[in-house]
Structures are given as structure tokens and as C-alpha cells.
């Protein structure tokens, strides 16, 4: 079952982030921001700080990712190597690699 945007933690962070990014876009920073609102991690741009809004996938898988520090509300940075579907993210000082399925399931917004 997917985590919807109603998640308190995610919402707390995401809404603000989305509003900010939208505002900046209109004030002429279009080149820096390649997306607005929420997108899957796999489609977010490189080298930027992102905030996790929600994670889809099975309960155990989500729990495992949570233990590694990947849960709604957490800020991550996309190192962006490999291709779009597979990502390297930095969080809490470590680098975590995410395969196809994992990176598609994580929905992020600009932080």
C-alpha cells in the first residue's frame, strides 16, 4: 500500500518545500529547478537536496529502508550516477544505492 501525501511527517516537510519550489520557479529560477511538486526519485535531477514525501511498496521493504534512514520526511541528496532508474543518494553521511524498483517507489520533492 502506498504512503499517501497525508503522511504527517511528509506533509509537514513536503508542502512547504513544494510551495517554495513553485515560488522560486515563478521568480525566474527555472533553470535550476527541473521539476515542480512531487516526482519519483528516479526522475529527480542530480546533485540536489530532496525530501522524501512517501514510499510505496510492501511493509517489510519499507521497514528495511526505514532502518537505513529512508523514510518520509527525511532529506536526501541525489548523487546521480548510473541511469535514471537506479540512484545513489547521500543521507546521514553515508551513500546508499537504490535499484530500479526501489528508486521508482520513492516520491520526493525539492527540499
Amino acid at each position: 500500500m502506498p504512503f499517501g501525501s497525508r503522511n504527517k511527517f511528509a506533509r509537514r516537510h513536503c508542502r512547504r518545500a513544494c510551495e517554495e519550489s513553485a515560488g522560486r520557479t515563478s521568480s525566474g529560477c527555472r533553470r535550476r529547478l527541473r521539476f515542480e511538486g512531487e516526482v519519483p526519485l528516479a526522475e529527480a535531477g542530480c546533485g540536489r537536496r530532496l525530501r522524501i514525501c512517501r514510499i510505496a511498496g510492501g511493509r517489510q521493504q519499507c521497514a528495511r529502508m526505514a532502518a537505513l534512514g529512508i523514510f518520509p520526511g527525511q532529506e536526501v541528496e541525489l548523487v546521480c550516477a548510473a541511469d535514471q532508474a537506479r540512484c545513489l543518494v547521500r543521507l546521514n553521511g553515508s551513500t546508499v544505492s537504490l535499484g530500479d524498483g526501489a528508486a521508482e517507489n520513492i516520491v520526493v520533492t525539492a527540499a
Partner: protein
């Protein structure tokens, strides 16, 4: 007196094994790859006025039973109640590492935090207030650098204090993490009920049990169900209720909320002046910059293939000379024995059984050492973890997981591993179906034991393109393994794939000491195996190839022939005729021996693939251990030549033999690489899969694949006129 038991716990790659080696003087394998310690290891520590048994637990991120390693670590901590737990923490990556510390604290174990890699943290511009961290966590914290041994004495003095006075030295009760109103309320209620009933009181604190129930820890839930089915149902329904509530109101599972609060608690501690950054906290480290290139979508795979091919090139070109030295040493030795010993069973045993058997295996030591050295470099530097990450995409297509890559590589994906640790390495896989598929396909890799036979036959028949053929066989074993995995995943092991999530260790410069330890450790295992198992099997097979000997009527015929030659010929011609007769007699004796009869009987089937009876004997021996293929061929082809007084290397002997040609060599190699895994591996598969059914399945299906491949190549080659 019971010895003091200490446990070493920490995240993967935090430096546990390095610390373990430094404390116990052991030479355990340390890798820059998450999940090197799959089983727990024990060692003895002496110093600072006390001695203790130190247990190195597998690296884990949490104590919830998500995988085998976590279960191993947790069971040890809960059941064996160590006198103290040394929690090794990577100072450069505090936030994530303290996540485990929090859980250890909640288990109410006496803890000493060993703050490792202080040097790396310093280089990254971080300053850590150790005393403040200790005060806030309520447990002693000792800064160390495990790689250079700094701070170990102080660490062990602190541990000693904790062991002697657990109450005074640390205060685990100080920590009580709040998990938010919803969870805290139910946690309180469940804790009191668990305490009342004394559920699992011998193993865990009640609050911890309640927390794991809320975290939906299936292993623990199963345990509770066994002991108190009624309570289990109640607790479960309560946990489900709060989870449903969280999903409904916040759209998130309890586990994520709990993790969020734990990380929140850690961040709270760190923000109170424990850690200060000199540089921008979020700048990219060198590791990430390297990763941008090495895991690049286009450049990454090209570089990876380049690295792997370089390993082959280096190994084969540099080892050619030393291999020939060792070979000539053994040739000299058998020549010496040949001229100094009287003819008979003893001489035959020493030369044909032992020197040609074991010597054939030992001859490849220089090659094996170089290969291990190269693997050690890419493993210790951290590149291997990137290989897993890049290969995940390909592995997914075949129904496997990125973590299967490590099992493949350990088994000989870069030729020169061993399927036994490879089978063990599958424990890092979470999905049982992906794990079984990996387990059943890792034996296809080119393990160190298959290398000699590959090197021998490639050297004898395809000498001009050694590294190319070697590389080709490695790629082929991957292809066959992956295709087999896909077929298994589509038939007997159907199921959904699990996403790949793995921490990538930072790139590190391998230390020479580390490389030397790795190389030597693996080489020594190879030598030890040659000196024990291979020696025993060589002798057994020699006996099988020697006895019962010629039947009386045939022996009589050879005797008559001999008498005729003695009467008819004179001088040199007589000598030559006698030698030829002797050689024919030995060959006939080998054919008449127990092994020979078996080999001849099998020829009825194996002629389809071009195998003659001597090869059949070798392949049967190979089931005991693959090295035996070379040693048995050595014995089989040296018998009947004891008297020539002209020791020739096995590869030249095969190249000259009329039974052999490049096509036969190719089909033999194919069969040898893919047929039944060796006996030890089969036992391991049975143990790891929990049933002999899978072990027998493994033997049957791999032998079938091998036979079909060899058949296709041999018959196809014949049709094409080779």
C-alpha cells in the same frame, strides 16, 4: 570458571572485523563490502589484566529480524547475554550508526561504544565531543582507530570496568525514546501486560518485546505465539490497530514512524554540540565524485569490463613464469624418485598418486595467489560494492537481486573463488526465492578449484589466446548461471522481485597488510585443501586406478609376449620393444582397475561428448573436489609411463595424446565447469536451503545442463568438421 564473553556489534563496514583482528590477533577476512561477516566468529583477548572471548557478530543496521544476519546477532545477544557489548560506531557516519546503538540500549545490555575511524571523521572536518556523547547516551564512549590500533587499550580498560561493575559504568535506563503519542500509549499498555505474564522475560526486556511487536517483527511474533498464543493474538491485534490508525491518519506504517523517532532522537543528541562540522556538511566527498564516473550509466559498465579483463591479463601474464618453475620443481622431484626408488607399488604411489596428484594442484599456486591479490584489491577498495550495484539491473532481468552478485563473485565470478563461502554469502538476500535461485546457480561460477583444469586444458590446446579463453569461460559461466536462474525463477521458484537497497562503503586505499592477509588466507586454504582432502582423494583414486590389476589370463598373455621379445630381439631394439610392451601392459592394467572399469562403463554415454574413460575417472573424482580432476588426469596419464624416465608435463602429454584434440578439450571444459557441484558445496546447499531435496536437485539439474552443453558443442563441432 566460565570465560567472560564480549560481543562485537555494529553496522556493516563500521570496522568490526578490523577491531576483532586487532583485539584477538586473529586474521579474519576483512572486506570493504557490507556483509563480510555472515556467521559469528570467536577469538580470545588477553591484556589489560583480563582475558575474554570476543564474538564478532554479523554487521546489522537494526535488531529487527529482516534478514538472517540480524537474527544471528539478536539471538546471540538475547540468549548468551554477553558480559558487555562493544558497539563499534563509524565516527564519520554517526547518525546512521547510532541507530543500532539506540536499539542495543533498549535491549538494556551493558554497552561500550567504540567510536571508530576518528581519523576519517577528522579528515572530513568533523569534530566530535566524545564526553558529551557519552553523557547524552549514558554509556562510556571511547575513540579509537581500529586500523592503526589507536585507543584499543583504553577501550579494553573501559570494557573491563563495565564487566566488573555494570551498574556503575553504564546506565542504559537513562535512555527512553518517545515514539509519539499513538505508539507510546499502546507501548505502555503492552509493556505492562508482557511484564505481568513474564513473556520472554528470560530473553528480552518487556518494553523491547512490545516495541518489536509494534514493528511487526515476524520472527519474534512467531516466538510469542509458541509461548502464549492468546496473548500473542491480543498483542498482534493491538499492534495492527495502531498500524491501521497510522496508515489511515498519516498514511505510514508503524515501523517508519518508529524509525523517524529514533533518528529524531539521534539528531537531537548530535545537535546538542556533540558534532561540529568545519566544512559544509553536505558537500560531496571524494567517494561520491569517483562514483559519478565509475557508476556512470555509460562509462560504468565499460570500466567494469575493463577492470575484470585486466585482472585476467595481469594474472595470466605474470604467473606464467612462476608456474613453470613450480612445474619443473615437481618434474625434477618425480625424476629423482624415479631414478632412486625400486619399481613397485610404493614408487607408483609416490609418483603417480601423490606428486602428480597433489603437485598438479600445488603447481597453480602462483596463479591463484595473483588472482586472489587482484580480487583483494577491488574488494578492499570498495569497488566490488559498486559492481553489485551496477549489476543489479542485469540481475533483475534474470530474477535475481544485486546482492546475488557478491555470492557469485565469492564463488568465482571473477575466477578463483569458492562456492562454499559463496553459498553462505546468499544469506544477505532477503527474499527466500531469490536466495534459493542464487544458491542453486552459484556453483556454476569458476571457483579456484576449476582454475587449474581451465588453465591446464586452455594452456594445452588454446595457448595462443589464454586470457581470452579464460575470460570467455568466465563470461559463459555467468550467462549459463543467469539463464538457469531465470528458468528457475519462472518455474519452481516463481515470485515477485525485491528492490535493491544497499549502502555503498566509501572508497578506501587498500593497505598492503590487508591485501597480504587476504591473499595469504585464501591461498593457504587452497594449499591446506591440497594437503588434506586432495591428498586423501588422490591416494584413494590412485588405489582405485591400481587395483585389482590385470586379470590372470591377460597377465599371462603379457608375460608370454615379454618372453617372446626377450628371445627374438637383441640390444637396443629389445629395450624399445620391452618399453612399448610395458606401457601397453600398464594401460591395460589401468583399464582393468576398479576406476578404469567404471570409466569404461561410462564411455557408453560419454562418447557422445567425446570423453574417454580416463576423463570419466577424473570427472567422477571431481565430484569429491574439483581440483581432483587435474590430479586424477595427472595420475591416469602418468600411469604406464613410470618407466620412461622422461617426465613430461601433463599439458604436453595431453596435447600429444590421440584421445585429445581442441574439440574434446572444449567439450570437457564445458562439462567440468557446469556439472554437479563438489561434495562440500552440496552439503552446504543442503544446510543453507534446509533440505536435501534441493541439494539433490542441484546435482541433477547442473549435471544435465553440463551434459547437454558438452553434447551440443562436441557433436556440433564434429558436424562442422573439427
Amino acid at each position: 570458571m566460565q570465560p567472560i564473553v564480549l560481543a562485537l556489534a555494529g553496522n556493516p563496514n563500521a570496522g568490526k572485523t578490523t577491531l576483532f583482528n586487532a583485539l584477538t590477533g586473529a586474521r579474519q577476512h576483512v572486506g570493504n563490502y557490507p556483509g563480510v561477516t555472515v556467521e559469528r566468529k570467536e577469538g580470545e583477548y588477553r591484556g589489560n589484566g583480563f582475558s575474554a572471548v570476543i564474538v564478532d557478530l554479523p554487521g546489522t543496521y537494526s535488531l529487527t529480524a529482516y534478514s538472517e544476519e540480524e537474527v544471528v546477532a539478536r539471538d546471540f545477544l538475547a540468549l548468551e547475554k554477553p558480559a558487555a557489548v562493544i558497539n563499534i560506531v563509524d565516527a564519520a557516519n554517526l547518525e546512521r550508526n547510532l541507530y543500532l546503538t539506540c536499539q542495543l540500549l533498549e535491549l538494556k545490555l551493558p554497552i561500550v561504544v567504540a567510536l571508530n575511524m576518528m581519523d576519517v571523521a577528522r579528515d572530513r572536518g568533523m569534530t566530535i565531543d566524545v564526553d558529551k556523547l557519552a553523557t547524552l547516551l549514558g554509556v562510556p564512549v571511547v575513540p579509537i582507530i581500529a586500523r592503526s590500533g589507536q585507543g584499543l587499550d583504553r577501550l579494553m580498560q573501559t570494557v573491563k570496568k563495565v564487566v566488573e561493575q555494570p551498574a556503575a559504568a553504564s546506565d542504559p535506563d537513562k535512555i527512553r525514546i518517545s515514539y509519539g503519542d499513538d505508539i507510546d500509549r499502546i507501548l505502555l499498555d503492552m509493556t505492562s501486560r508482557i511484564r505481568e505474564q513474564g513473556l520472554l522475560a528470560d530473553k528480552y526486556p518487556p518494553r523491547w518485546v512490545a516495541l518489536k511487536v509494534i514493528e511487526n517483527d515476524e520472527t519474534l511474533l512467531g516466538e510469542i505465539e509458541e509461548r502464549a498464543p492468546e496473548l500473542a493474538a491480543e498483542l498482534k491485534s493491538e499492534a495492527d490497530r495502531v498500524n491501521d490508525h497510522l496508515v489511515k491518519t498519516y498514511d505510514t506504517y508503524s515501523e517508519a514512524v518508529i524509525a523517524d523517532h529514533r533518528y529524531g532522537f539521534i539528531k537531537g543528541i548530535l545537535k546538542r554540540g556533540v558534532i561540529t562540522h568545519r566544512y559544509d556538511e553536505n558537500r560531496l566527498y571524494t567517494s561520491d565524485r569517483i562514483d559519478k564516473v565509475l557508476t556512470n550509466r555509460f562509462a560504468g559498465p565499460v570500466i567494469m569490463l575493463g577492470v575484470l579483463y585486466t585482472i585476467y591479463y595481469v594474472t595470466f601474464s605474470l604467473s606464467a613464469l612462476p608456474v613453470s618453475w613450480v612445474e619443473s620443481f615437481f618434474n625434477g622431484l618425480s625424476g629423482l624418485l624415479n631414478s632412486s626408488l625400486p619399481d613397485g607399488a610404493l614408487k607408483s604411489l609416490l609418483i603417480s598418486g601423490i606428486i602428480n596428484g597433489v603437485g598438479g594442484v600445488l603447481g597453480f599456486i602462483p596463479l591463484i595467489m595473483l588472482m586472489f591479490f587482484c580480487i583483494a584489491i577491488i574488494e578492499d577498495s570498495g569497488y566490488l560494492a559498486r559492481v553489485s550495484f551496477m549489476m543489479d539491473r542485469i540481475f533483475r532481468i534474470f530474477g535475481l537481486h544485486g546482492s546475488s552478485v557478491m555470492a557469485y563473485i565469492v564463488s568465482g565470478g571473477i575466477a578463483g573463488g569458492c562456492a562454499v563461502p559463496g553459498v553462505m554469502a546468499t544469506r544477505t538476500l532477503r527474499s527466500p526465492k531469490e536466495r534459493m535461485a542464487t544458491l542453486l546457480t552459484v556453483p556454476f561460477m569458476n571457483c579456484g578449484a576449476k582454475l587449474p583444469i581451465l588453465a591446464l586444458l586452455i594452456g594445452a590446446f588454446f595457448a595462443d589466446h589464454r586470457s581470452l579463453y579464460m575470460f570467455g569461460f568466465t563470461l559463459l559461466s555467468w550467462v549459463i548461471a543467469l539463464v538457469a536462474a531465470k528458468i528457475l525463477r519462472l518455474t519452481v521458484l516463481r515470485g515477485a522481485p525485491t528492490p535493491f537497497v544497499m549502502e555503498l562503503p566509501p572508497y578506501r586505499f587498500p593497505t598492503f597488510k590487508g591485501l597480504a592477509i587476504h591473499t595469504w588466507e585464501r591461498t593457504w586454504q587452497y594449499i591446506k585443501k591440497a594437503g588434506t582432502v586432495i591428498l586423501a582423494i588422490s591416494i584413494l583414486l590412485w588405489a582405485m586406478m591400481t587395483y585389482p590389476g590385470l586379470p590372470p589370463d591377460q597377465a599371462a598373455r603379457f608375460d608370454r609376449e615379454r618372453n617372446r621379445i626377450v628371445e627374438q630381439y637383441r640390444g637396443e631394439k629389445k629395450e624399445l620393444q620391452l618399453k612399448m610392451l610395458e606401457s601397453r601392459r600398464e594401460a591395460a592394467a589401468l583399464r582393468a582397475s576398479a576406476a578404469g572399469r567404471l570409466g569404461v562403463a561410462l564411455e557408453k554415454v560419454t562418447w557422445l561428448c567425446g570423453f574417454k574413460w580416463r576423463t570419466n575417472i577424473a570427472l567422477i573424482g571431481g565430484f569429491a573436489a574439483k581440483e581432483v580432476v587435474v590430479s586424477t588426469l595427472g595420475t591416469a596419464y602418468s600411469m604406464g609411463q613410470v618407466d620412461t624416465g622422461d617426465p613430461v608435463s601433463l599439458s604436453r602429454r595431453l596435447a600429444r595424446d590421440p584421445d585429445w584434440n581442441p574439440l574434446v578439450a572444449l567439450s570437457t571444459l564445458l562439462f567440468m565447469v557446469f556439472y554437479a557441484p563438489c561434495f562440500v558445496t552440496v552439503v552446504c546447499i543442503a544446510r543453507e536451503s534446509g533440505s536435501w531435496k534441493w541439494a539433490f536437485f542441484s546435482i541433477a539439474y547442473s549435471t544435465t545442463i553440463a551434459f547437454l552443453l558438452a553434447l551440443m558443442v562436441y557433436q556440433g563441432g564434429r558436424l562442422l568438421g573439427f
